[in-house]
Amino acid sequence: MIVAEQKPFQEIRGLIASYEKILVLGCGTCMTVCGAGGEKEVSLLHGALRIAQARGGDESHSFLEYTVKRQCDSEFLDVLEDRVKELDAILSLGCGVGVQTVAARFPDTPVLPGVNTTFMGAAEELGVWDERCAACGDCRLAETAGICPITRCAKGILNGPCAGSKNGKCEANKDMDCAWTLIYKRLERLGQLEKMRRYYPPRNFRTIPRPRRITSKAGIELGGANG
């Protein structure tokens, strides 16, 4: 799940300051699940902006609210086509992907981000999300018993641990477990400690230059076997 957090309220007010007719646009997938930008949050934010404006006195925004199933696929935005002409800006509570898709779809309308997209993660318990995946593009979870050293180790090292682990916790954040302690314990449980004894050469960081692209289309050239 992509996990995000709504931007501080004052920051949002700053972003919308110079626009009049604003659509608060929610997303019905990841942002709903992580509680940052679903229909309920859209409604709440809208209400808060309205009240703030009433109390502030000197602004004049008018708001619409709507939530699409996903912002990251353009077809879901078709429904806004006619309305967009009347808008001065869209305040999107979608993740960074959504905001950019909306902006690309409606290039004549400013699109403002209402959330800070933070990480890919999972809910450990209701209302608590932890980062789990860094999208490194070179998944090595088989070697570390399903525990990612890139996200869960503060230094992201492959030949861990470092010497900073105390009481099973990380030197950088005492609330976080030392990933390599977890990896050791789970490899031990699986009887696969030899995986930790192997030397892992430096990572291929070439996956990082942005933006990455994945294509599932096959390039077919006509002729020969493709007659």
Partner: protein, 707 residues
């Protein structure tokens, strides 16, 4: 705010905008079991909210004689009540009695006008006949009720003893019928149906009941001192005082036998024995009545079959042999005996109560079936004769009052169809019935509560008089008993599955573990498990979950709007809005006191449990001018649902965060009586009011300084 866009684009699918708000509740088991199909869940909930007069209105919609049922209905609803799967069923009948007595059912004057010419005759004034008379009159027909006896009521008058159904109650209902314009002809035995048609009645409803006692068919049955129960009861109930001895034996195991025994006890009898064929569990009489009889000192002797009555010029005793079984393998009545095991009872009075059959005059020329009952079509209630309908005990054999009332209603509508030359408009149930038992994982989480039993006269006080044994609830007991209701079938549903992101929040917040993931990974909220607490509705981030009952969905918004409108007119400042649980406002304890002490400037918005209050409601109150908002609940201890206080506080926390963002002090929002604290809630409210007052003054001054 552009509400047009908001409303039109309420969901993704293009059809959703046109989708109206259906009532998606299920028919609960109590209503399904009730022959009159009464909206029991609705009126019990209204009593729980303290809205007893409205409860009474709901009761009256479907029941022609609520006060009669309140006393003597055998409550198939309670037997079907799913609360019984947790602890004990809801005391529905006693609650109905509470509503009826509280509301003063007796004083209502019903009206009816005559809109048809066709006259209808009703033969017999028992439950079925009176019910048919009521409904036919309401439909606008001129109705005449013929009764052979001097008084109306049939078994209600002559069979059921006064300590179960006070005569004033029956008389009031009869009086009401008369006021509605029903013509009564007592002391008039109908001997020929042809005569009725000659008298220009267009339809006849035969409800002569089953008043002929069966005979034992053994030696000595005609001796003096032996009487059949129906005759005995009739004489007592009509004010005659038949002489009975001190030592009474009642033969039979049904309700009539128990009634006869308890009546005898209240006359001159010193010892009363009830002897029956059936084993204790097989006895057909109502369990509560059997227990009442036992507590009054009547001795129940089971599994005995009568052989001979002893005595010369009057009865002195009766002899029995052991009955080894009552029903054969196929459940037919076929008792078998062990003649070698004998017993005998001495008695100077013998009351025979082994069943009743209808007595239909041959001249009626009706086709008679098994048990001497009239044969009818089960849907139209027509007999073999044109224009002649039949119902009640005359058709079913001895049955219950509520069944007879339902038959009477059915007959009225079928007679109406007949007279207006229509096909029977048989009402099709639009809603599904709730099926299925509560799952163990749900049962586990429901708090067990003792049933509030209605108070009864102590056994000693009952012995020699015919006052009603059961007394009526006091207010607190009634409200608290009504709160035990599980509200089957009116909980939450995922109305917009296309909006559902399967975030599993509803699964995780439900205190009763009701929502689940089916095999295709879709979240389902089964209607037959949901306890209608409302927590998931407020927590769903996609707003995909709604309450099934349409009135519930916008309840808080409407109540809030109403309060705000009224408050606006009064102009008292500062305005404080208090969301208070309606169930607690009239109940016991702290919240009730709070309600009464609410001062000027405080406007109460009643909610049906604080679990349904969302941050948006709180914000709206502030947006529309409230200076302070508080949420007052029954307290988690008292609340009929689990975890409600926790979630109410979570929403308060969320609202406070938003308030802080828009420059309103978080302390303008307060929780009162959700969890126990040292401060008395009324005092807490006073302090809060004061605090809000100070904030209001400070901001008012601030405004002045600004300008």
């Amino acid at each position: 705010m552009d509400s047009a866009l908001h409303d039109t684009y309420r969901s993704y699918s293009s059809n959703a905008a046109k989708r109206p708000s259906f009532d998606h509740t299920f028919v609960p088991p109590c209503q399904a079991a009730c022959p009159l199909h009464m909206e029991i869940r609705e009126y019990v909930d209204l009593i729980a909210q303290g809205r007893v007069m409205e409860a009474l209105q709901v009761i009256r919609e479907d029941n022609p004689f609520p006060s009669i049922c309140a006393y003597i209905c055998n409550h198939p609803c309670e037997d079907a009540c799913r609360r019984g799967q947790i602890d004990k069923p809801i005391a529905i009948r006693a609650l109905k009695r509470f509503a009826v007595e509280f509301g003063g059912d007796r004083v209502i004057q019903p009206e009816a006008e005559t809109t048809h010419e066709e006259r209808v005759a009703i033969v017999g004034s028992g439950s079925a006949g009176l019910s048919a008379a009521y409904y036919l009159r309401k439909l606008g027909y001129p109705v005449t009720v013929f009764e052979a006896c001097s008084e109306l009521g049939g078994m209600l008058r002559a069979g059921i003893p006064k300590y179960r159904l006070p005569r004033e109650v029956l008389d009031t209902e009869v009086q009401r019928l008369i006021q509605m314009g029903v013509e009564i002809r007592t002391n008039t035995r109908v001997v020929s149906l042809d005569l009725l048609f000659d008298m220009d009645y267009k339809a006849v409803f035969i409800t002569v009941g089953a008043a002929q006692s069966r005979r034992l068919g053994i030696e000595g049955e005609d001796k003096p001192g032996v009487v059949d129960a129906i005759t005995f009861l009739r004489e007592v109930n009509l004010g005659l005082r038949p002489s009975i001895g001190e030592s009474v034996v009642v033969v039979g195991g049904g309700n009539v036998a128990v009634d006869a025994a308890r009546t005898a006890l209240r006359l001159d009898a010193k010892e009363v024995d009830l002897v029956c064929l059936e084993s204790r569990q097989e006895m057909p009489a109502f369990e509560s009545d059997i227990q009442a009889a036992v507590s009054e000192g009547i001795v129940i002797n089971c599994s005995w079959g009568p052989r001979s009555i002893v005595g010369d010029d009057k009865v002195t005793g009766i002899e029995f042999v052991r009955c080894t079984s009552v029903f054969d393998g196929e459940g037919r009545f076929k008792p078998s005996f062990d003649e070698s095991v004998k017993t005998s009872f001495t008695a100077d009075t013998l009351i025979i109560a082994i069943g009743q059959v209808p007595q239909i005059p041959e001249d009626f020329r009706l086709r008679i079936g098994r048990g001497s009952t009239i044969r009818v079509d089960p849907v139209t209630l027509t007999t073999n004769r044109e224009g002649v309908f039949a119902g009640g005990d005359a058709v079913t054999g001895p049955a219950t009052v509520v069944q007879a009332l339902a038959t009477g209603r059915q007959a009225a509508f079928r007679i109406d169809d007949y007279l207006q030359h229509r096909y029977p408009l048989v009402g099709k149930e639009e809603k599904e019935s709730l099926l299925g038992d509560l799952l163990p994982k749900t049962v586990e989480m429901i708090r067990k509560l003792n049933r509030f039993e209605p108070p009864v006269l102590p056994p000693q006080a009952r012995a020699k008089q015919f006052e009603p044994v059961e007394l009526v609830y006091d207010w607190e007991s009634a409200v608290n008993e009504a709160r035990r209701c599980l509200r089957c079938g009116m909980g939450a549903e995922i109305l917009f599955q296309d909006k559902c992101a399967a975030c599993l929040t509803c699964l995780r917040v439900c205190p009763y573990h009701v929502p689940y993931l089916d095999d295709s990974g879709t979240v389902q909220i089964p209607a037959d498990q949901c306890q209608a607490c409302g927590i998931c509705v407020g927590e769903c981030p996609a707003r995909a979950i709604v309450l099934r009952k349409p009135q519930d969905r916008r309840h808080i918004d409407e109540e809030l709007d109403h309060a705000l409108k009224t408050a606006a007119q009064s102009k008292s400042k500062p305005l404080i809005i208090g969301f208070c649980c309606q169930y607690g406002l009239y109940g016991t304890g702290a919240l009730a006191r709070l309600w009464r002490q609410a001062k000027a400037g405080i406007w109460i918005v009643p909610v049906l449990c604080v679990a349904k209050i969302e941050a948006k409601h709180i914000l709206r109150a502030f947006e529309m001018g409230a200076e302070g908002v508080f949420i007052a609940g029954c307290g988690q201890e008292q609340c009929a649902r689990e975890d409600t206080a926790f979630w109410a506080l979570q929403r308060i926390g969320k609202a406070r965060k938003v308030l802080a963002q828009i420059g309103l002090e978080p302390k303008r929002l307060q929780a009162i009586n959700l969890y126990p604290t040292e401060t008395d809630p009324a005092k807490a409210l006073d302090e809060f009011t004061e605090q809000v007052g100070e904030l209001y003054l400070a901001s008012a001054v601030g405004q002045e300084v600004k300008t």
